[in-house]
Symmetry: D2
Subunit: 384 residues, 4 copies
């Protein structure tokens, strides 16, 4: 961690090159003047600051689930969870981002681990978060007093500034992944945090099958009239695998019957949305589930903004920029901004299911989103 209190100096060096003034004593003197006044000329920086297209500091990288799980399990054994550290969460540190716990310049991705009977204490923060469960069960996340079950395939969004805690009501440890916009909040310096109650009411430690939020908001196209609008983030706290799976299967079945429904042949996809607006579940994070059927591929695509993927089921090959990996259940990888991405399902697998989250809503909200498929059609998208 850097010492925040020491001012950092400006260092300038006159070097010959295209677009650069020829080094000479007057230029050196000018640069010393700039340094003294904390000034930096554009002409020495423009190549890095204003590239022709995004050139991410983040690198494509893959983390293997078995190693993540092994280390998280070891942490479960020797690192207690409680107030102060708050969560037994272990974050992916992109090799291009200076050893910081940033999966991408905007996104945090971590494996969280809770031992039987453990509680992760209540707090709230303006950072937006979600949980996704690749395997296991037994933990409930309590959001503003509403316990939400976590099981394989479930997606639990968690909008900023809601009180939440976790408790493991089972006899086995449980792991899941957390996604947040911590790096974005950190870089833009816009975050708030508060500790919650030391002890959550026992009435909130229940283990119901369905949360109250699901009973109110989990019915397709039906808005509960008693509930206020929820424009900025979803009021639905769990998206169950049974629904997601059926939606993906329906798309592939429609394709098989000759109807529109898939993104491209063999590629089905859904976005998790706020039922009160139809928009992304969180203001800063987009979340989707993709299913690529046996032997099929996605269209190669690049877009502004970064993504993190986790393989939910099946096996296949993914290409990110110049990198290519064989992947299987639980593996996580990063697609940096503007890096071309495609995925293919193995011919030996029924399908390749990929959970994806990205920072696209940030760019759409600011009219800065752009994407292109490599075979061609580019779009400079505006928000509707």
């Amino acid at each position: 961690m850097t010492d925040d209190t020491a001012p950092s100096p400006v260092r300038l060096k006159a070097v010959a090159g295209p677009g650069q003034p020829d080094p000479n004593p007057a230029l050196e003197a000018l640069y010393r003047g700039f340094e003294a006044e904390l000034l930096v000329p554009l002409w020495t920086e423009i190549g890095d600051l204003m590239p022709k297209h995004p050139r991410s500091k983040a690198m494509p990288h893959l983390w293997r689930w078995d190693r993540l799980l092994e280390l998280a399990g070891e942490a479960g054994r020797i690192v207690p969870v409680g107030r102060g550290g708050e969560r037994r969460a272990i974050a992916l540190a992109n090799p291009g981002l200076g050893g910081r716990p940033f999966a991408t310049p905007t996104l945090w991705a971590a494996i969280q681990y809770l031992m039987p009977g453990e509680n992760a204490p209540e707090h709230r923060h303006t950072q937006h978060a979600f949980r996704f469960v690749v395997e296991g069960e037994g933990v409930w996340t309590v959001v503003n007093g509403d316990p939400v079950r976590m099981s394989r395939g479930d997606f639990l969004p968690q909008a900023g500034w809601n009180w939440h805690s976790h408790h493991n009501a089972a006899t086995a440890p449980m792991a899941w992944i957390d996604g947040l916009d911590i790096p974005f909040s950190y870089l833009t310096e816009s975050q708030f945090f508060e500790f919650g109650r030391e002890r959550v009411a026992s009435s909130e430690m229940g283990t119901p099958d369905r949360s109250r939020s699901e009973r109110l908001w989990g019915h397709p196209g039906l808005r509960p009239l008693s509930q206020p609008e929820s424009p900025s983030a979803t009021p639905l706290l769990a998206y169950r695998w049974v629904d997601t799976d059926r939606a993906l299967a329906d798309q592939l079945a429609l394709e098989a019957e000759g109807h529109a429904g898939t993104m491209s042949p063999g590629h089905a996809a859904v976005r998790f949305t706020n039922p009160s607006t139809g928009r992304d579940v969180l203001p800063t994070i987009r979340t989707e589930m993709h299913r690529i059927k046996c032997g099929a591929s996605t269209v190669k695509r690049q877009e502004v903004g970064s993504s993190v993927f986790q393989v939910f089921e099946g096996s296949g090959t993914v290409k990110v920029g110049e990198r290519e990996w064989s992947v299987k259940r639980g593996d996580m990888f990063v697609v940096p901004s503007w890096a071309p991405f495609s995925a293919q399902c193995d011919t030996s697998a029924t399908c390749l299911d990929l959970f994806r989250f990205s920072d696209s809503p940030i760019f759409e909200a600011l009219n800065a989103h752009r994407s292109t498929t490599i075979d061609g059609s580019s779009t400079l998208e505006a928000r509707g």
Copy 2:
């Protein structure tokens, strides 16, 4: 500039402390495992990453206009302007931001300088920009073929991805300030850049008093029916001082007559807005002009997001966090995120006019804006 190709290692150290696991060999082994797999636990980072409120890396800092102008003039004499370096722009480097040309974590602020007869070559970029003229005249900015005059007090917004160049048609050098969202685009890796024509058509090198954009869009409350909507950024390319000055004077006159109109006693303010939407001129940058009358002060306030100010006229005292400066025409200073800010006009001055730009639209678009006055009322604002 860092070498982008070398992966950065993770370095973890077990240290005793509140919320930290006790150092021991098992923990050390675990940390070595984390390092090998590029993982970082939350518990060692949470204090820095998730503070109770924004704690900016940026520092309050003041740049004196006479020094900026002196160094820019020296650059005018020895550094040519042309393709490659693109602009003779010299950026404020906040002392807390590692020597990079970032006034704040999201905003770029620079003095630009053009010698008589010089041209700054045509280009375009997705970064949003504006010019503000504290003194001088003689330069026209040509935007998509429309030459826009620049004179003292004028504000010229420049939405991303529009072709633009500058030419000095006068016999004296001219300086002005540029504001852009370069750091934000850089950190979120969302920027595109293109070089334009080597030579702008002579028909575009005119020096009209009013630009075509002003003749179409510069009439209060009147939309030209022939023009398309312009939802994401303003179609009006110049906001003239005569209008801004009159609007501020009207507010103080209304106050003097006993009517509402000012922000607080003696403090008038206008925001530059897109006439086709009434919203900010640019998706990522808010721009305002404030007038504090003789002896009056603003209410002390803190808000999420950072600002850069330039004194347009008058003299006074500004307080930013723990810092306090006497300021006069042209001086520029930075207000970091959540740092308390207030300003007072000298009793010897008619008024203190402050031009301000900030990154507030980013936070409003993402429902993350929050502000408070120090005497009390806090708001967690949502975008309507």
Copy 3:
């Protein structure tokens, strides 16, 4: 039907009264001058045109389902369905609206009836429509080639300008209700209509259990990525009773467990919404299902705009303005603008389920919505 080609004269009569000029020869002469020039003074009309609050021409009225069904069945026997007449639909004519087929000044409500093997021909119109099925089954509505099953309790919205036809694939007749904004379109003169194909492709005459629209859009909170946005009207063509029933039951169960969820004690309600926006299914028509449990009542309420209700299940008492009726399955009634309304479930019934449609979205879109509960709190609502 009026003869559209004959101009209608203005007729004015000078009468004494508050706010009226005293009758005298000069006034009479003035009024003759007004008549000759097709002019009408405000002062003779203001009481009718600008009342203190809405005073509807429409009257509260009840239509009994058994009579509707009987007459529709008789029509089924003697009136053929086909091109020209287009639909065997029989509309409610509010007794206050001049014998026109207008349930309210803005809404059309009709019973439609289709004999076994019959087809209602394909057409499209800009008027927005829906079907609601109080009992029966066997008909499919084909929307742009997508056959949609109609069964008891199902709600089928039908946005304007989509091709549609109906066919009865069963061995018994079937009845349902149609709701449209025909009167609103008629009064504002904004409607278009087109005949479709003489014969729908046999591939479109299928009888699938689920429509393609449901397979794409009928999963809670999940947006199919292959589908375009649908901002103005819902892409989901059927809302099934199983979902609606469960949502209402969940609200009452939450209430029973001590949690928020109902509108008022014993009163559950859901609104049918566009899953791509969370807003009303149609730009001009709001649709809801209300469940009042045994012995419970709704809060008495009045609001701008008119509603039509149909009893879906159970029995109870409804009060509309000065009128009061005992109602049971299928009965339909009208609540005029600003008429106080409440409903109570019989103590002998499990619940009273009321399907409701109204013109509220028109007023919300134009910032003219207002509602109040009789015990008090008034709101002048603005659209978010």
Copy 4:
């Protein structure tokens, strides 16, 4: 006026015709059954209710300004203005609309007349209104205590539910036109009305050159920070002729210099907009000023919704459907929904300036707007 309390019977007659069932005794019996139950079948009504495109009941019609002024002046002499009648306003009664004071099915247009020293009493209503001044001066409209001057060419919007009165501070009578959405509010039964104070405070009877609203909101692109947002209607209470005239002249000058700016050759146009949103000044009424230069014409066009025009200056020929008139200053005419419209400036006139108001915002808000130019391009417009 109809007696609102007597229910109106349904009258049905079996007649032979395309799409109609053959008359026979069973059909007659069925129709008697329908009548008894207040039911009307679609098949007898569909031609009138669901035409292929809008067929307006309203007729194209022209009112001459000299006659309007003459009759209004006569009313000024013999009809007092005061509480009860409220306004000396005389409305255009479209010959197709049953002698009611409706210029079109949705719009009210009237000439209002105030004698020297007279006051029109304070009231408020939810109907949206505006004033437009074709000639004269001397009256101030006081809106929520803010006196607004009315002079030739000025446009004064008046959003619903604001208190307002008028007073003539001059020594001559003054006339102007009022536009409101009275018919729309009446037909949709959504209106509220309240009487105001018997006597407006003398401090509100001032005659300032500029209103407070203009001093706050009348500066191009500048939003006063002290003022709340005003999303549903404009906070600017006067649009002055000097600005409107200059905006139109600028467009024609741009055209003359070879630049884009006009609608079509010689046809300049501006829309009056809410400076806080860029949208229409009122939720239900669009207002525009058009200038056709000497000898030029507009493109023939038809659109959903109705318009009322007043000639502000110059002379020319206007075509509405099958009608054609020579028009000059002050003349008013109606363009019904979907009626083709074009206008041409006389070769003897400098220009033809047309003030126009229409109900387009209603249709845009409801996604029902559609327009086409007769030479071709049709659009089914959606609101952005």
